[in-house]
């Protein structure tokens, strides 16, 4: 068991290291001279050279990568070109904001999708199943921008019951913050609903067809008790994995939702950094996103193992 976690952790670290190399190469090497990019095409070559020396970008790519990754490991994410300030605090603040939005989306979607999936599974092939499945499949494929725009029009403009900016006025309480985040959370909820409910549905259908479910029915257990005690525990296992792996997807959605609803999270920070060609900031953001994803899948794997008695006991033997 411990060995399994260690092995997964090791593989995760290797993946992260490769990711850092890809990110560094894409952001630092491909776009050309950063000093030239900052100073513009009309700057004197001597000024560009001086800035290159100051930024350390006149050294070899490998030396630059070594310095960068060395700093990253010790928690120093570098200095933003555009804001002339250390990256870590800015990034940290944005990440917290994004987590608030993501958390709200998960709090809404997880019970909803599990309920929908189980409900569909209990009525397999019936109208209710068809409706839930079609709704899930459709909601999953429509871009967040599209659902976001429609939500803004309907709830923000025509019904005028929800704010269309995600950022609550400074100093507002948690209730007000959540109130401002409801509309931005819904596009994320819609995308996630399809995957999670499909998984819950498949797990429940499988459990319902199992021998132990038939035994429970045959020994006269009421259907409600049978579902609660025997079906749900088994059917929700794969759902947990999906919820964790969807984190990566969620962050991609965050970029769009945060831009659309003007919310200062990591997604909007990435776009701003890209627009300003603020490469250190862009690298740091992308690396943090990758790390969050790798961590989430790691947690999913470990949780799955801990919750699954078949794997848990085999590991102990």
């Amino acid at each position: 068991m411990a060995l399994f976690i260690l092995k997964r952790l090791g593989l995760g670290l290797i993946t992260l290291l490769i990711l850092s190399a890809i990110v560094f190469f894409a952001a630092q090497v491909l776009p050309g001279d950063p000093a030239r990019a900052i100073l513009g095409p009309f700057a004197q070559q001597s000024a560009v050279n001086a800035l290159s020396r100051q930024l350390g970008t006149n050294r070899s790519v490998f030396a630059q990568y070594g310095t960068w990754i060395g700093h990253v490991v010790t928690g120093n994410l570098g200095t933003s070109y555009a804001q002339q300030a250390p990256i870590a605090p800015i990034l940290g603040k944005a990440l917290v904001n994004s987590l608030k939005l993501a958390a709200l989306a998960f709090i809404i979607v997880v019970p909803l999708a599990i309920f929908g999936g189980v409900e569909a599974a209990l009525h397999v092939g019936k109208l209710r199943d068809r409706l839930i499945t079609i709704f899930g499949l459709t909601a999953t494929v429509i871009p967040e921008v599209v659902t976001g725009i429609v939500l803004i029009l309907v709830f923000g403009l025509w019904l005028n019951i929800l704010p269309i900016s995600a950022t609550a006025p400074p100093g507002s309480g948690i209730g007000d913050q959540i109130y401002h985040l409801i509309l931005p959370a819904i596009p994320l909820v819609l995308i996630l609903f399809g995957y999670i409910s499909q998984m819950a549905r498949a797990g429940t259908v499988e459990a319902l067809n199992s021998d132990y479910a038939r035994t429970a029915t045959l020994k006269g257990l009421p259907r409600g008790v049978m579902i609660r005690r025997h079906i749900l525990r088994n059917s929700l296992l794969p759902t947990i994995t999906v919820i964790a792996t969807q984190t990566g997807y969620l962050i991609g959605g965050l970029v769009l939702v945060e831009v659309l609803f003007n919310y200062n999270g990591i997604g909007k920070l990435i776009l701003t950094a890209a627009n300003q060609k603020d490469f250190p900031m862009l690298e740091a953001c992308v690396l943090v996103i990758g790390a969050v994803y790798i961590l989430a899948t790691l947690v999913a794997d470990v949780l799955f193992t801990l919750l699954n008695p078949r794997i848990r006991y085999r590991g102990v033997e």
């Binding site: 990711l19 871009p143 921008v145 923000g156 890209a274 060609k277």
Partner: protein
């Protein structure tokens, strides 16, 4: 093939005959599905709009500065935008770049992903391990983020967009193809081909590939939907298709801040167009997937 190997019938030949039967079965399955017809109808509408739309609608670039931000009327069915351009024309013509870039990008990803998946699945061992790590590293990033990163690195243009989506799709498709190859590689016809002394290249592309075309076709159609999703999203963020030629993502980006002023028609129709296209593509993709499962 030389004369003395004739008795060992090539899997490519068997595969070709089998593929013909399977294709007919698949078509029969598809024809029976209402979802397929509905999806094909939507897709057909947008393809026709992209090709012949300019014959029907007004000039999408013509500005009438005396008529900016006008609500839908009989003259402009979908209203006009902030530069006085006809929104209906921009929505109809806006299908064009999306329907050019999405299939090309998906095709690039499918070809590269298939080649990579064949190599990974066939050779296994060190090649597979190393490439798998890279694939995983790539998959740790959401598509949109990779898209932004690569677009910044390469400079935003339609060509970049095709390359970016192609690159991102490559590992995703490679993973599916690899799994399919693993199921085939230990079968008898591969062993027979090895005994005949065929090269690895021949076995991968002439023997295995024809037998795993079904999952590759499903991958292509499913990814096509994702490609539209990604193009619209990246275009909205400014890293996809470039204006002034209209496309739905950029249209929403250019006009969504006007929504608070009540100009809903400048974004709603584009949003609905995107929704209809992705739903159409996905209905077709799901039908093909189900048809292949059934046949």
């Amino acid at each position: 093939m030389s004369v003395d190997t004739v008795p060992v019938e090539s899997a490519a030949a068997v595969g070709a005959a089998g593929a013909d039967v399977r294709r007919r079965e698949l078509l029969r399955e598809l024809k029976a599905q209402p979802a397929f017809w509905f999806g094909a109808f939507i897709l057909g509408f947008w393809i026709l709009s992209a090709i012949f739309g300019s014959l029907v609608v007004q000039d999408p670039l013509a500005q009438t500065l005396s008529k900016i931000n006008q609500a839908p009327s009989s003259e402009h069915l979908f209203g006009t935008d902030q530069l006085g351009r006809d929104v209906l024309a921009r929505v109809i013509i806006g299908a064009r770049p999306i329907l050019i870039v999405a299939p090309l990008a998906t095709l690039l990803g499918t070809v590269a992903g298939t080649a990579l998946g064949l190599v990974m699945g066939y050779f296994r061992g060190a090649v597979d391990d190393i490439v798998s790590r890279f694939v995983e590293a790539f998959l740790a990033l959401p598509l949109v983020v990779t898209g932004i990163l690569l677009s910044v690195a390469l400079g935003a243009s339609n060509t970049t967009l095709i390359i970016v989506i192609g690159i991102v799709f490559t590992p995703l498709i490679a993973r599916t193809v690899r799994a399919a190859v693993l199921q085939e590689r230990d079968l008898d016809y591969i062993a027979a081909a090895r005994l005949r002394g065929e090269s690895s290249l021949y076995i991968m592309f002439a023997e295995i590939l024809p037998n795993i075309l079904a999952p590759i076709m499903v991958e292509f159609t499913v990814r096509l939907g994702y490609a539209v999703f990604t193009i619209v999203s990246l275009s909205f963020l400014g890293y996809g298709l470039q204006p002034p030629d209209p496309n739905w993502g950029s249209e929403i980006a250019a006009n969504y801040q006007q929504v608070a002023a009540g100009y809903w028609w400048e974004v709603l129709f584009d949003a609905l167009a995107v929704a209809s296209l992705v739903i159409g593509v996905n209905l077709v993709a799901n039908s093909i997937e189900r048809g292949l499962d059934a046949s």
